[in-house]
């Protein structure tokens, strides 16, 4: 087994032993799902709103909540704790690839996100939400959101490595909120104001949201939309990995 998998297994155990860290990850996105849906569901009704493609407004909002949940990864805060407590140096003194210390945690974030995304979709089912693209679409949705969780946690871990501070790392996570809301969060992009549409078009999270939404609302795969979503994840992943390798190798 590789060092990354061994350390990833440890991080999964760590998550299971800190269920309190998972509560906000599930509760806050579900809270937004319920509140946002409740506020506008009378305006956007399934039979009169074309962009809902026959589903309730909760289906349109679900991808926002999934992306929000993916941004609640706790790995960076655990990493800071390990740096402060000295265990990080213990691992650095072992004959392993130093990158595996960080990538093990990302591996665990991916697994955790797969489980949480599946759970949130299951919770949404009784409220009339369906993944219109079927089982295959559901699987692609899980992968897309889990990859984003890995990318996002990776950037958070970078902040942790650079700052070695829990406060700075937590503040870094807040940067995601504007990005999540400068998107076609409530309506499709072509129905936003012109200024908002331009801003959303420059926001990479828009393409992730549109890809995830197409899987929930469209019965057939929208390859162009999905392609853009996965390209965003791939590019962000490449940047994150390059910066992480540099940061961990320069770490003293």
């Amino acid at each position: 087994m590789s060092d990354t998998t061994v350390l990833g297994g440890r991080a999964v155990r760590e998550s299971l032993r800190t269920p309190d860290a998972l509560i906000p990850t599930i509760f806050i996105p579900l809270f937004f799902l319920v509140v946002n849906t409740g506020q506008v569901s009378k305006i956007f009704q399934a039979d009169t709103t074309a962009f809902l493609q026959g589903q309730g407004y909760a289906a349109f909002q679900l991808p926002t909540s999934l992306l929000l949940a993916a941004s609640f990864g706790s790995s960076a805060l655990f990493l800071v704790e390990e740096i402060e407590g000295g265990y990080f140096d213990k691992l650095r003194a072992a004959p392993i690839s130093r990158v595996s210390i960080v990538f093990g945690r990302l591996w665990s974030e991916g697994i955790k996100s797969l489980a949480l995304t599946a759970l949130m979709v299951l919770v949404a089912l009784p409220f009339g939400v369906r993944v219109a693209s079927g089982v295959a679409g559901f699987a692609v949705l899980l992968v897309l959101i889990a990859l984003w969780a890995v990318v996002f946690s990776g950037f958070m871990q970078l902040i942790a490595l650079k700052s070695r501070s829990a406060a700075a790392t937590q503040a870094g996570g807040m940067a995601f909120f504007p990005l999540l809301f400068i998107t076609p969060n409530f309506v499709p992009r072509d129905q936003l104001s012109r200024l908002m549409e331009i801003a959303a078009s420059f926001n990479p999270v828009t393409y992730l949201m549109e890809a995830a939404r197409s899987l929930v609302l469209d019965p057939t795969f929208q390859w162009a939309v999905l392609g853009k979503g996965f390209v965003v994840v791939a590019l962000a992943m490449a940047v994150m990995v390059a910066l992480t390798v540099r940061a961990i190798n320069d770490y003293e």
């Binding site: 087994m1 060092d3 350390l7 000295g86 140096d89 650095r92 003194a93 004959p95």
Partner: protein, 266 residues
């Protein structure tokens, strides 16, 4: 005589806001294989920085170092395979149990699952933590954490063991337990490089000590030789302790004595 640790003109320079600072200013070390070496010095003297360079946790600014015969800068991975490290503030994962932590450490040193399980049980017996092995490390006492940290540094039977202030903050009984472990480890052939602020500890355990102050080694030799040298210089018939040697070497004065822990101030 083979050397377990050898440093030549070792320098560590930091770039800070106020300019460059030399934390270690060109030290030489020659530590024979199989010995217990004590590295003493006041806070901020450069002890931990030196240990971090020798254990590959920090780059060397200038000079060179060989540990277990391997150049630290040229082949840090090979050095890591031959050393064990227990740093200040027992570095342990609080959410794992003692058994899980040791098994993980064994796996990181390339052992199979079965080998890791066997070695873990050996080490738990060695540090007498069998009864607490399935408790989360978070609930361990300070002494238990130190013993577990020590065990985790021994999983791969290292040639050189670095212990950075292994007994700081421990009660006298726990300290004695760690001393016994260090002696036992050394008897099995492991070279021990120990930093400490407790001079009695160095006197009890070490074959040779070096005193570092402001990044430079100011005394080096066996505790007995250093005390004899000071007695000769004094020439008043008094019998100096290692504390006296330390104070003489660092130009500090006695400030206060609390229990068996002596603190010194500039």
């Amino acid at each position: 005589m083979t050397l377990a640790v050898e440093a030549i003109a070792l320098v560590k320079r930091y770039r800070g806001k106020g300019g460059e600072v030399d934390a270690v200013r060109g030290i030489d070390l020659a530590i024979p294989t199989g010995s217990v070496f004590g590295f003493l010095g006041p806070n901020g003297a450069g002890k931990s920085t030196t240990v971090r360079m020798l254990t590959t946790l920090m780059t060397i600014t200038a000079g060179s170092a060989r540990v277990a015969g391997i150049d630290v800068a040229a082949d840090p991975d090979a050095v890591r395979r031959r050393i064990g490290v227990a740093l200040q503030e027992a570095g342990l994962d609080p959410r794992q149990t003692g058994r899980e932590l040791l098994r993980l450490q064994c796996r990181l040193y390339g052992m199979s699952s079965a080998e890791a399980a066997e070695r873990t049980e050996e080490l738990l017996r060695l540090v007498e933590l069998e009864d607490s092995a399935d408790r989360n490390v978070k609930g361990y006492s300070g002494g238990m954490k130190r013993r577990l940290d020590l065990a985790s540094a021994l999983v791969h039977r290292p040639e050189v063991l670095f212990l950075d202030e292994p007994t700081t903050g421990l009660d006298p009984a726990s300290r004695l337990t760690i001393w016994e472990e260090v002696r036992r480890i050394n008897e099995q052939g492991t070279t021990v490089f120990l930093t400490t602020q407790y001079l009695e500890e160095a006197d009890q355990l070490c074959d040779e000590v070096a005193i570092i102050d402001d990044g430079l080694i100011v005394r080096q030799g066996s505790p007995a030789a250093l005390k004899d040298e000071l007695a000769r210089r004094r020439g008043d018939g008094s019998v100096p302790t290692l504390d006296d040697v330390f104070l003489d070497a660092t130009g500090r004065s006695r400030a206060r004595v609390a229990g068996d822990v002596q603190e010194v101030q500039a």
